[in-house]
């Protein structure tokens, strides 16, 4: 059993809506989430807009402070980190964003952009730092002549490589990829995904990959978590979640996702989720999914279900898991 690099327990984040310094509402972005990210694995977090995956990711990286709950990095509680420990945590973790056009400072040369973490942590400066940056550029497949250029001279795919090179600077152990390939064309995406796989094996990295694209998640992840309105509704290995989904939302999501098989058309009319995602400000009582669930029963509106291990690490949060 590999150790858990990152572990969240009962992580909750509410955003307060203020009007003239008074609180008039709360956005229940993340609610009581337990998530364990084992070392050396890729955990995929999938969900639609408003499900809280971005907030969860930012909280794990301590960019947002949680309302309640704990986050453990290598067994230590993040909230109790000293300044020095926090800085070391920042050195060990990195984030790659979705939009390659806004994630690089347009006023900085590539050498400075990619070498930034090295400067911040005092690992290398000046000429030595540029040498290390060259190394990183080679790792992500970019040519050395690009060292002293501005970001706007590169294409979207190349910029994403630069963002990954920056993430790799300072030798992190954990990388958070927030929709890192969603803005890229299919052919470019393929190259980046292949590269991410290669880097993971070479450098023994741990990934948390967030996406709304089920195919990419299935391709890349070892463990998958499905989020809906701030809660994890299903979690398990690739085979468990994709081949035998137990939660109605996961089933709906999988059948809604357009498959590349033209003959699968008739089957996809089966589980079509009706309605829209409710607002996170006033989430439905009981099970948050009950307003759209095709198998809803009276208890679903009253009691929120708990995340239960159904079999062999396959966790589902539904009163009727396995019965549908």
């Amino acid at each position: 059993m590999s150790t858990n690099l990152i572990e969240c327990k009962a992580l909750t984040k509410h955003f307060l809506i203020k009007s003239f310094f008074r609180e008039i509402g709360k956005v229940h972005a993340v609610e009581q989430v337990d998530l364990a990210i084992p070392e050396g694995q890729t955990v995929g977090l999938v969900g639609e807009s408003g499900c809280g995956k971005t907030t969860l990711a930012r909280t794990i990286l301590a960019l947002i402070s949680p309302t309640s709950g704990e986050i453990y990095f290598n067994g230590k509680d993040i909230s109790k980190f000293s300044k020095k420990e926090l800085k070391a945590f920042r050195k060990d973790t990195a984030i790659v964003f979705q939009d390659p056009y806004s994630s690089l400072d347009p006023r900085m040369l590539i050498a400075d952009v990619v070498g930034e973490p090295l400067s911040i942590h005092g690992i290398a400066h000046g000429e030595d730092r540029d040498d290390l940056v060259l190394n990183l550029l080679e790792k992500v497949g970019l040519k050395v002549e690009h060292l002293y250029r501005y970001p706007h001279e590169f294409s979207g795919g190349q910029r994403q490589r630069l963002a990954i090179a920056r993430a790799l600077a300072a030798d992190p152990v954990f990388i958070l990829l927030d929709e890192a390939t969603s803005a890229l064309d299919v052919s470019v995406q393929a190259k980046i995904l292949n590269m991410l796989n290669r880097l993971k094996k070479e450098l023994n990295l741990t990934y948390l990959f967030i996406s709304h694209n089920l195919d990419v998640i299935r391709h890349l992840s070892d463990i998958i978590g499905v989020m809906y309105l701030g809660k994890i509704v299903e979690q398990g290995s690739r085979e468990q979640v994709f081949d035998a989904p137990l939660h109605p939302y996961t089933q709906g999501l999988l059948s809604a996702s357009p498959s590349l098989d033209p003959d699968a058309r008739s089957r996809t009319r089966d589980v079509v989720l009706k309605g829209e995602v409710p607002s996170a400000i006033n989430p439905p009582p009981g099970c948050r999914f009950h307003t759209r669930c095709p198998s809803m029963r009276p208890i679903c509106a009253k009691k929120p279900p708990k995340l239960k291990d159904i079999e062999g690490g396959h966790l589902v949060s539904c009163h009727f898991a396995g019965c549908v």
Binding site: I95, S103, D105, E116, N135, Y148
Partner: protein, 314 residues
């Protein structure tokens, strides 16, 4: 770490040169885009002329601007006096040449005082948000609530009429604008992905301001600065015109317009030429400012860059 074979640069000096290259390239592109706009070029020429006069005017002036020659008062524009003479017999052209420096001095001093204050306060408000933002912005709102010229007049009157006091008054009136500008920029830069990326790798607030926020605020500041020069010159002239700024016998252009006001019917040249001078200078700064704003616009740069690259290689 070993550099790969045949690596183009090996010494510290050459690395520095290599780093400078893209920066100079960007600058060259800015100049190219500026050159392409006729209006911007006209603006640059006007500003250039004005600056030349301000610095060297005193040496080129044919007559002494202060010498009073009652016998030669109100001579219309002629070969001896291109712009004529005023009520004291002083050559208008010479006075204008000497007076140009006061306008530019006013502009520089006001900006040197107002911009740092604005950047500091606006930066704090934008970066930290929260109560600091509220307090600073409400304080700024108080100043912005008054019409700028009236406020400047009141300060001027309180301090006592003189060019120097007018400049102080204008500085007090001007800094809120920069505070607003910088705050907006800081707010938007703060939200960008690259700042969040830097923060996620351990960058502290001071580092963020230094390396990310300030450089990205520079271009709007530059544009506003240039456009503002025109406004400040006008405002100084206006204050002097009203009697709050430069006092006689200072040949400040606004003052000159005011001095010649009563004689407008008989000796129009005493007011008109300084007035034209002010108008041309302000126009120059406005055109140049617009040109710089366009030249720094990323979209326009990208489109023009292709043409520029072709030009340097052909």
């Amino acid at each position: 770490m070993r550099l790969p074979e045949g690596f183009p640069f090996t010494s510290r000096y050459r690395i520095l040169k290599r780093r400078l290259h893209p920066i100079t390239k960007e600058f060259g592109l800015t100049l190219y885009v500026l050159r392409k706009s006729t209006l911007a070029v006209i603006g640059a020429l006007l500003v250039g002329m004005f600056l030349f006069l301000a610095i060297f005017g005193s040496r080129v002036a044919p007559y002494d601007p202060y010498e009073v020659k009652i016998k030669e008062r109100f001579i219309p524009p002629s070969k001896a006096h291109w712009f004529g003479t005023d009520k004291m017999g002083r050559d208008v052209l010479s006075r204008m040449l000497f007076g140009a420096r006061y306008s530019i001095r006013a502009g520089l001093i006001v900006l040197v005082i107002a911009v740092p204050i604005g950047v500091l306060l606006g930066g704090i408000a934008g970066l930290f948000g929260g109560w600091r933002d509220e307090v600073i912005m409400r304080f700024t709102d108080v100043f912005l609530a008054f019409p700028s010229l009236i406020l400047a007049m009141s300060f001027s009157a309180a301090l006592g009429p003189s060019l120097f006091n007018a400049m102080i008054a204008l500085s007090i009136v001007w800094w809120p604008m920069y505070t607003r500008l910088i705050r907006g920029q800081a707010l938007s830069v703060r939200e960008t992905d690259y700042v969040e990326a830097a923060r996620s790798r351990g960058a502290g607030n001071w580092y963020l301001v230094r390396r990310h926020i300030l450089p990205n605020c520079l271009s709007p500041i530059l544009v506003t600065l240039t456009l503002d020069m025109g406004w400040i010159i006008t405002a100084t002239a206006a204050l002097s015109f009203l009697g709050f700024g430069a006092q006689p016998p200072l040949p400040e252009w606004g003052r000159m317009v005011s001095d010649g006001r009563i004689y407008l019917m008989q000796a129009w040249w005493v007011s008109v030429f300084p007035g034209l001078g002010i108008a041309m200078t302000v126009l120059g700064f406005n055109l140049l400012g617009d040109g710089i704003r366009d030249a720094l616009d990323p979209k326009l740069r990208r489109i023009t860059e292709v043409k520029w690259k072709q030009r340097t290689f052909s």
